[in-house]
Symmetry: C2
Subunit: 612 residues, 2 copies
């Protein structure tokens, strides 16, 4: 059998296996798999994908990312052909406890990340490729299979722009232009030249081919591998459902198994059992950055420092202690203060410009390779990347995000720049950690803790200065809290900017004979449930106060901690309830009813009701 | 004075006023305003912007959207030059209670939408332009001033693609290429040709000019207005801080007032008081769609129907009753069932393809013009557009979003397709409404209510069928609830897919002598606090159950309703606590501990503890 014949046979096998697994599952996307089967056959058997199947975690391995995650039947057929899974496992597709989920996840190695929300695989591939070039400094290549429908996602063009800007010639995107989306033709259809012009305008080398011509595919990959200085995109004209007349290039055939799989398999030439010995990667160990050591910054009690400043100083110091820490920013590094890291460790800093999807995606890609990324922008602007964060949890990614400019306390810039929903949205990410330090010493220690933390952790920092109340040698930990003012008539639970206000309120109340306990819950998730329950038990009434909307933030975390507690006193939630405007921080905190005056009023009332 | 001289003078006035307002505020972005001053001067005084300043709500008015919202000093200087505001108001910039916020909002007419989160103004402009072409059918033009930094946002390219696809020759984008971002040069710098090639590859007519040459600007606008069949982008090379040597084209001058405003004003030639009489729009009234009337669908008790099916049928029916209702979808209309609206009212249906930012932005743009848009996709994928939803609240937009495929109950597709954080994220949007009907009759009535609702409303629909338990003539309303099973030993609060499970649990419990009340809180925000409090008072223990992460959803809404209630019984939250996989809906609900068995177990335990 000629090599071309063998490639064609392998393509048919990948189709047959896609049909089989989807039929066994009773659901799935076989037609979206069949269009790209030849593209994958050549990638495997042409020696392009260099992957050590005896060591799927070999750092020198190439990476294969299915941005079109719904083509999972094809992906699993690829794994079978490469000997990574066996046929019996292939047929567990989409069943409970199978590693072969409806869309790929890292539960099945060597899958790097979960895909299935379109438009994510390519930006994440950019992150892996950046790691290859600038961090690992290994010659691995990232191959990313994209659907044509997802080319409408803006995040794909963030990736196109950044990949070219960074000169990522270790990245190859393959667009499976099967023309048909879920319900109709795409905006571009089979006008491959449109994709080519766009890709070239964004700085890529672009190659148009017939995606079912194995020799053309082979030539394109060869050209991609030998192109230097810029990434390559292979734009392949394909047919959805290729090879089976009942579905080939027909509308209405998306996302469902074939009606007659047996006939389809016969039409495709029957089952095959070709196995491919993948090319081995060049060896090599990842680069390690030398570090000089040092210690985290700390501040004396009573100093006034912005927690965003502490974030930057702590991260820069951490970068001096740990060579695996890297930083990324969305072109606001002088606001988030990640610029301090850049100045100290320029080779580990990544400017991602005003492209928050790519910012987060790049961090996800870097953690695939074991780096410890901290990505920062205004906390409000992480909302732009919320779907990437959601998916990162499914990817079991270890991701550290730092959002500055929390809440109305930023003042004059107005609500577009104020994060007021961030604690809620990040708390609702599976396995997440949400931190909102009230002073710089807390912030520094929490940054250090985040580097060790698995899952997605988010630190919310303040634009303005707050007083150092946490002693430099005091323990600060994820899940911890501290009592900032003693008392047992009423408890005030605060975090971030409201802590100073709460302490001021407690001092006012003390003058009236009301002893208020101020609990600083700098760890919002996990919250210090023991401390909250103790406050409930010992104080009998709780005021929570946060620079955030009422839903999903500190107040709700407190309520959750008390939901089944033995003591469930009344909880009054002070939060931002009207749309803020511009104004000074003090004016806006006052108007929102989250300043010392409002806190004292609420606490006094609750303490009185308790007695009454 | 020649026209060109007058335009240059007006440009200087806009600069001077930008410097003055920022100086008065002590903050702001004067340099980002100064780069685009000449571009705005020609727009105003060249007769391009046709806006009835005596009637800012004239439906025939052109629209001017500052996608680079931080250039608000320029925007307000424009309003002053046009006689819309006076000089004394200009100097209230960024002060409490001023309409002139740090970034524009609709508090100051004729501002259509809030901007300030970059990358939003252009996609929203696409929505306004779509409304002009296909809904209003008026010849108004949309002018959108974009920054060059925000060209890195993928959402801008979603807009570029869709605008060309839709042939929006009533849209002109103006890119102020001042080269300098917040901390450094952009990726493209002054390579205007790069932007031109990209825009052309996306189907736009593109014109490169010197953005400080008023005659070139005038010629470009003339060309834009006369270009048919496609949108035009004017790519203008400018200098940040133009006209003042202390800041012109210098790094480090972003987002701060000038150090010496008086010297700058002098350098700019001093204050001026030019006023511009804007061109009036062509007259005309917006098109109205004729409707045939009809009634909403309803289903008989005991039938089994998916709420997403009910959404589609109800929306199609509503479109027959109200001519102002329009629908948009993210290329999943056969999943969300918005296809039923498309089939019934094709001229009011907008296919937005796989581009969720543009999907939501288009809806925002259409509601600017008073249309009543319903935008649908998988609930999980609205996470991609979360920043647009956040900003829509600041825009005071009336927006209806429908998210299908909620929770683990979708089954085999796996977690990438499951919305599990949507209720939390939408509850944390200011002024939002969050609905999760448990049956089709509820869904239909809530769709009707959403059309009347101000603010942002979100309806969460199910992939699978549920039993009709709400009688066709029963009242269903935002803020309402219903008792699906009577009892007072324990209360089970459910919504959506968990309602059937809760009723089954209650029936099981009844066999054990435990009388459980099942409260169907189909309105999650606002929740029916009275009914929740009554359940707390009368039942003494509550189980909440939701197909959602534990944070920020139904359980937290219940806890919030009880936070200060007189009766605060224990609340056990059943929710999805581990990352789901693929599996059947029943298997996944069982594993998540949100099925009838888990509910009955929890309710039995709480009822027992209550007695004990």
């Amino acid at each position: 059998m000629s090599e071309a014949d063998r490639l064609r046979e392998l393509g048919q096998q990948l189709r047959v296996d896609s049909v089989r697994s989807s039929a066994a599952a009773g659901s799935g996307h076989p037609t979206s798999s069949m269009s790209a089967a030849d593209l994958m056959a050549v990638l495997l058997d042409g020696g392009y994908l260099r992957l050590d199947t005896d060591d799927l975690h070999n750092p020198a391995n190439d990476h294969l990312i299915f941005s079109k995650g719904h083509a999972s039947p094809l992906y699993y057929a690829v794994l079978k052909a490469a000997g990574i899974i066996q046929d019996d496992e292939l047929l567990t597709f989409r069943k409970l406890d199978s590693r072969l989920e409806g869309h790929p996840t890292p539960r099945i190695p060597p899958t790097d990340v979960a895909t299935g929300s379109l438009g994510q695989g390519l930006p994440i591939s950019v992150g892996v490729a950046l790691a290859g070039k600038r961090l690992d400094r290994l010659p691995y290549r990232v191959w990313c299979l994209c659907g044509d429908s997802e080319m409408a996602e803006g995040s794909m063009w963030e990736a196109f722009e950044h990949a070219a800007f960074a000169g990522l010639d270790n990245l190859t995107a393959i667009i499976d232009v099967n023309r048909l989306g879920q319900t109709r033709e795409t905006m571009v259809g089979w006008n491959l030249d449109v994709y080519k012009r766009r890709a070239e305008a964004f700085g890529w080398h672009a190659i148009e081919i017939d995606g079912h011509d194995v020799e053309a595919i082979d030539a394109a990959y060869r050209e991609a591998v030998s192109t230097t200085g810029r990434p390559t995109v292979v734009i392949a004209r394909t047919k959805k459902g290729k090879g089976v007349k009942a579905v080939e290039d027909l509308p209405g055939k998306h996302g469902k198994p074939l009606d007659d799989p047996d006939a389809a398999i016969e039409e495709l030439g029957g089952e095959r059992d070709l196995s491919v010995r993948l090319a081995k990667p060049e060896g090599g160990q990842p680069h390690r950055f030398e570090v000089k050591g040092g210690s985290l910054p700390s501040w004396e009690l009573g100093e006034e420092v912005a927690t965003r400043q502490a974030y930057g100083e702590a991260l820069a110091a951490l970068g001096g202690i740990r060579g695996d820490v890297v930083a990324l920013d969305g072109e606001v590094s002088n606001s988030t203060h990640s610029e301090l890291f850049r100045e100290a460790h320029e080779d580990r800093y990544f400017e991602m410009f005003i492209a928050e999807n790519q910012l987060v995606a790049a961090a996800i890609g870097m953690q695939v390779r074991g780096w410890v990324p901290f990505a920062s922008t205004f906390a409000a602007f992480f909302a732009r990347a919320y779907d990437f964060v959601r998916m990162a949890a499914i990817s079991r990614a270890n991701l550290r995000l730092s959002g500055s400019h929390a809440g109305v306390s930023i003042g004059e810039d107005g609500p577009s720049q104020m994060a007021l929903e961030d604690m809620a949205s990040f708390r609702a990410i599976h396995g997440s950690t949400v931190l909102h330090p009230s002073d710089a010493n807390q912030a520094a220690k929490l940054v250090e803790a985040m580097a060790e933390r698995t899952g997605i952790s988010f630190i919310r920092t303040l634009r303005g200065k707050t007083e150092i109340r946490t002693a430099p040698d005091e323990t600060v930990e994820i899940g911890g809290s501290r009592i900032a003012h003693e008392g047992d008539d009423v408890a005030i639970v605060a975090c971030g900017i409201t802590l100073d206000e709460a302490v001021e309120a407690a001092e006012t109340l003390a003058g009236d004979g009301v002893r208020a306990r101020v609990l600083d819950c700098y760890s919002v998730k996990p919250i210090d449930a023991d401390a909250v329950r103790a406050a409930a038990r010992e104080c009998g009434a709780i005021v929570t106060v946060e620079d955030h909307w009422p839903e999903g933030g500190l107040g709700d975390a407190v309520l959750e901690a008390l939901a089944e507690a033995d003591d469930r006193p009344p909880v009054r939630k002070l939060a931002v309830r009207e749309m803020p405007t511009s104004g000074t921080p003090d004016e806006l905190m006052h108007r929102a009813g989250i300043d010392a005056e409002a806190i004292a009023g609420a606490a006094r009332e609750l303490a009185r009701e308790k007695v009454g």
